[in-house]
Amino acid sequence: MGVTNFVGEAWRTGKSIATGLKITFREMMFRPAITVFYPDQRDEVPPWFRGIPVLKTDLRTGEYKCTSCMQCAQACPVNVITIEWHQDPETRKKVCDRFAIDMSRCMLCNFCVEACPFDSLVMGYDYELCKVDPENLVFEFEDLLRLGLKYSSAEEPGPKAKRSETPPWVFHGLTNATEDDIQDVRGYLGRPPLPKGYEPELKPQFQQKQAEDETAATVEPEPAAKPAAEAKPEAEAKPAAAPAAQAGSTDREEAGQP
């Protein structure tokens, strides 16, 4: 290696080191920082995010939407969905005894949601599923319903809507419903049955006939009675739920009077 060659190489090496330092300095000083300090800050979850699959509830009736048709269990590539059911001798309907998803093996592939013909399953936004004991990763029916309340909405009474062209699982809107939004929970969520005549307030996003009853609401001095009055006409459409709703509204009015 000649002297000129050596000098040239040294110059080129020094120049590339300087270039690297220049770029690093530019990144450090003049470029936006992208770090997200995770437990305190969180990235926004996109609407199609695939977290844990959860079960939806119909908030108007408090019934779970699952009909134990086993479509999701068949579609699952890793067989993590366990469904046990029996037939109700009176109504001849399937009653779900156990619906469990083993999240230690689930690979979040969305096939169960696509297979569901009743729009009952949805991939939730929850992604922090760490458990100390791996046995706790088996999510039972109650857990899935509880997690799924956030995506549940009050369904229109009447015949079940057909599966639309744009599938419902594509955009699962967050309604942020809680257990208090359910009209009549029949102990599915593992809490004691609600007192007779209990009539919770519907949150504004579930109130569908608000405009009609606005005049009634202004006459009524107590605002708590407003959703009860609203729930009446829909409850009449469902004969099973009608007596409870009516009883609830009368109780509330009596209680409000004195």
Binding site: T13, S16, P77, N110, M123
Partner: protein, 381 residues
Amino acid sequence: MERTQELLVNMGPQHPSTHGVLRLMVKLDGEQVTWCEPDIGYLHRCFEKLSEQKTYPQVIPFTDRTDYLAALLNEMCYVEAVEKLFGDAIVVPERAQYIRVMMAELQRITSHLLALGSMAMDLGAVTPFLYCWRDREKIYSLFERITGGRMLYNYLRIGGVRNDLPEGIIGTPQDGEDKADKTIWGFINYFDAYVYPQWKELVTGNRIFQYRTQKIGVLTAEQAIAYAASGAVLRGSGVKWDLRKNLPYSIYDRLEFDIPVGKNGDCFDRWWVRQEEMFQSSRIVKQCLAWLAENPGPVMAKVPRVLKPPKGEIYHRIEGARGEVACYVVSDGGTNPYKVKWRSPAFTHLQLMPLLCPGHKVADIIAILGSIDVVLGEVDR
């Protein structure tokens, strides 16, 4: 010549530079490597046998997990193979094909970014690795918005794609860096204006990096063909062979792009080919975006609910991120594939290690391993 005793050294399986759980048995004569043998199988997950018990759509999420750094390309290979098996019964809509190609090329950029970044980090340049990770995250946020998953997408379906692109994801050609993780145009502009020149300046132009990679692990064109190399390894050796050009599948015959070819077949050429391929991928994505913005339409063909391809067998190959990904599917007319055989380029390329390593120093093993870019999930399947 007086010689000392040869020393057998284990590299891995938990060595940080082995890109997964790879064990390299290396015989050393001083600092010189005299023999090198990879030991694989730590990540074996029975993908091929498992597929025989699944229905045709159920195999798609498993193909994601073979090469988890380029999941969409694997899906594309399997899905197109099954569509070929159906013959004319399934006609994939044009828009779905454009979406597939666009996503595949974006996936190629992520895969090459990681390959380059991890190779640079193994050679001691830690900073470029962080930049590569940052830019790769931007594509992953885009993918998350399109498909719902960050790494394992399960997005392609037999007969199309699962869903159309969400509104506003394409963006406009004027989008800049501030929208790099919001719109695809934003990322592509950011990539052309910033990422690609920065890589050239920071790593490729670095004289120290060139010393570490040039004339290391030279693979001649004859050897590359004899060892069934493909992808960047083959093109780095000077063979102009790219399935997207030579045997066009999907809609690649309508797109304009060049094939970068190396000269010497050393680690630096393989690096250079990957870097230039990223730029060509961004060109392809631009053409796809221009088409997608103007042509709305269905993204899913009409397929029966239960897929039963006719009896037959098919061998389909595509240009994956690491090389030629190929899939051999045999159908016996039932709902499950009779046999799925996967040709993974990383497995084929790993056999180059005993050929390339002897004669080099220990530190050069890292450069060679990084330049042939193996993903152990794909090697073991």
